[in-house]
């Protein structure tokens, strides 16, 4: 098997606050291969967005810091690069699109200027070629009348168009890895599907790897090959999308699926996971999910389980699931 595009190994991110040090991402490892889409899912506060920022080394420091781990993009360790070197990776080999395309575009510059900036910075394209290339990129992401749109400002565009502009910007240098952090959360449902389809199509056309970060399991089912479930900064389960959906092993994954598939539940009842994500300042001694878990044992409240395979390629962080697999 060829080397993965992205290999994350033991990534640990901490935030130092007035109340103490918080571990937002704890010993996270995963890989993404060429042409593969991997989804990280979890509730707010699970650390999934911090992972996205950490990969590009954009965690605000202070208060955040990557304290351990390795992030390798095509075998190159990104965490040891100096500032100038990591800037050459950002936007060129690893690009990112964000949740809210209104806020993520600079309101005072034209679309051309904002996309063109990447082309000039990384590819050194001369000014006259920039416009043509921007128009080409806008056409690629399905923006109608790209010549006119290029000269417009973000406030002239609809939410869906803005997200397409963001995608065009991210794809400008044909990156190896595209990180999509909640790319459709701020969009209308009809537009969501279009944007996801676009990402999928461009992924196969450009041969990228995609890291999709979301809380929305329905888009995971349609787009991701593999799923990583995160809870309180830790990976609690990983597996092929179909397997995760058909046979969730971790009680938290089961809870997430139950909450998402309410239409299939008896009497259309809305099912939720009881309780809330524990405060990072007051983590339970044992398994961090134990206080909300219906099947928790006495052991779960005393000891934190480690990740262990319950089946080939199915690591799960749960005593109960590991016991059942034995």
């Amino acid at each position: 098997m060829s080397a993965p595009v992205l290999a994350v190994d033991g990534l640990t991110v901490e935030f130092r606050t007035a109340l103490g040090t918080v571990r937002a991402v704890d010993d996270l490892s995963f890989t993404i291969g060429e042409g593969e889409t991997v989804a990280i899912v979890g509730e707010s506060g699970s650390g999934k967005s911090t992972v996205a920022l950490a990969l590009l080394r954009l965690v605000p420091d202070p208060p955040g810091r990557i304290v351990a781990g390795r992030v390798r993009l095509d075998r190159q360790d990104l965490l040891t690069l100096d500032d100038a070197e990591i800037r050459k990776v950002r936007g060129r080999r690893m690009a990112m699109i964000f949740q809210d395309p209104m806020m993520a575009l600079n309101p005072v510059y034209t679309v051309e200027r904002q996309i063109g900036e990447v082309l000039r910075l990384h590819l050194g394209l001369p000014r006259q070629q920039v416009f043509d290339q921007v128009v080409e990129l806008l056409r690629l992401v399905g923006v109608p009348a790209p010549e006119d749109r290029a000269r417009q400002y973000p406030h002239n565009l609809s939410g869906g168009m803005r997200q397409r502009v963001m995608i065009a910007m991210a794809l400008a240098c044909k990156p190896r890895l595209l990180i999509a952090d909640e790319p459709t959360t701020a969009l209308d449902v009809t537009v969501q599907a279009q944007v996801l389809e676009l990402i999928q199509e461009l992924k196969s056309r450009l041969g990228m790897a995609v890291l999709l970060i979301t809380h929305d399991l329905s888009i995971v089912a349609e787009t991701a090959h593999r799923v990583i479930v995160m809870y309180t900064g830790r990976k609690v389960e990983e597996g092929a999308t179909a397997e995760i959906f058909a046979d969730p092993r971790h009680p938290y994954t089961g809870g997430l699926l139950g909450a998402a598939k309410w239409e299939e539940n008896e009497g259309n009842e809305l099912r939720e996971i009881p309780g809330a994500v524990p405060s990072p300042f007051d983590m339970p001694r044992g398994c961090s999910f134990a206080p909300r878990c219906a099947v928790a044992l006495a052991r779960c409240r005393e000891h934190a389980p480690a990740l262990a395979d319950v089946a080939p390629g199915r690591p799960v962080r749960c005593f109960v699931a590991q016991e059942a697999a034995r």
Partner: protein, 326 residues
């Protein structure tokens, strides 16, 4: 688009007329509320004027007519840009003003540009180093300058740069008797301009620095700054392109206000530095109850301030494309 802006400009220019006329009318009646008039002053200067002579003077100046008649005569002349004749100097007011206006405008413009430029640079520098010693140093310095009275600062600058170091002239606008022409003359004026302009500017440098720092920090918290970092831009490029233009609006607003304040502030500074501008003319006219001159100066200065605010509005539109002039 272009036509719309032109229409806006014409409409705004027309709006200036009633505003300025209202200011003149207000000034006219306010000045009449103070006891004593130019006839009293002249009579007092002569020492032995009789009541008949004073009355004769009033008749000559038209001050014996009912107030409303005087007002309409004045306003009627104003519409033909006739500002009347200075009671004391027996010279047309417009001549006196045009003689002094350029000096004041040069001083004001220089100090506004100086204050904005320095304030922006220091504010950006402080924001980029938020929480460091450099940031605190800039903030403390700004506070000290802010609390220092302008006239005292002017005197201290004269002591330091003119008397102790002997590198800058202590007053006046040109070297008397040098008879310089062309570029040499301009250079000479610039030379004399440094201290009074710096004195007028420093207070505002302090305000702009504080304002710019706060505004930059606010912009730094916005999502598009993260986008810019994810594109691979350097922090310097982010500060001066993406952040600056968004942070500049409050500074431009204040620059309009400063322009109005400077007309008042320049009286003190022009006195300290012997700068032959409008400030001294106002001062003399006020002491001598030279009503025509005073009204003329107030008319011109209100026109300048209102125009400055128009310029501010136009700059808004240039800085932020979301602001559309209709």
């Amino acid at each position: 688009m272009r036509q719309a802006s032109l229409l806006f400009l014409v409409r705004r220019l027309l709006q200036i007329v009633p505003v300025v006329l209202a200011i003149v009318a207000l000034n006219f009646f306010l000045l009449r509320m103070a006891p004593g008039d130019v006839a009293d002053i002249l009579a007092g200067q002569m020492g032995h004027a009789t009541a008949e002579f004073t009355q004769q003077l009033r008749q000559e100046f038209g001050l014996d007519r009912p107030l409303y008649q005087q007002f309409f005569i004045y306003m009627g002349k104003l519409l033909t840009f006739d500002l009347g004749v200075s009671h004391l100097q027996q010279t047309p007011v417009i001549v006196l003003i045009l003689d002094r206006l350029p000096a004041t405008l040069i001083l004001m413009l220089t100090s506004v540009v100086l204050a904005v430029a320095l304030g922006v640079v220091l504010g950006v520098a402080a924001a980029r180093r938020e929480g460091t010693i450099a940031d605190s140093l800039i903030s403390v310095l700004a506070l000290v300058v802010y609390a220092t009275p302008a006239f005292w600062l002017g005197l201290m600058l004269i002591v330091l740069f003119s008397i102790k170091l002997d590198i800058l002239p202590s007053g006046g606008m040109i070297q008397i008797g040098a008879g310089l022409k062309g570029a040499a003359y301009a250079l000479d004026v610039a030379w004399h301009l440094i201290l009074p302009a710096a004195t007028l500017a420093l207070f505002y440098v302090a305000i702009y620095t504080r304002l710019m720092r706060a505004s930059m920090l606010e912009v730094y918290g916005l999502d598009f700054i993260v986008t810019a970092r994810a594109k691979g831009l350097s922090e310097t490029a982010i500060a001066w392109t993406h952040a600056l233009r968004n942070a500049l609006l409050p500074v431009v607003t204040l620059a309009g206000v400063q322009f109005g304040h400077l007309l008042g502030g320049s009286i003190l500074v022009e006195t300290v530095f012997g700068w032959p501008g409008l400030g001294r003319l106002v001062f003399d006219a006020l002491l001598q109850r030279d009503l025509n001159l005073l009204l003329g100066i107030l008319f011109v200065s209100s026109a300048v301030v209102v125009s400055a605010n128009l310029v501010v509005d136009l700059i808004y539109g240039l800085l932020d494309p979301r602001i559309v002039h209709k």
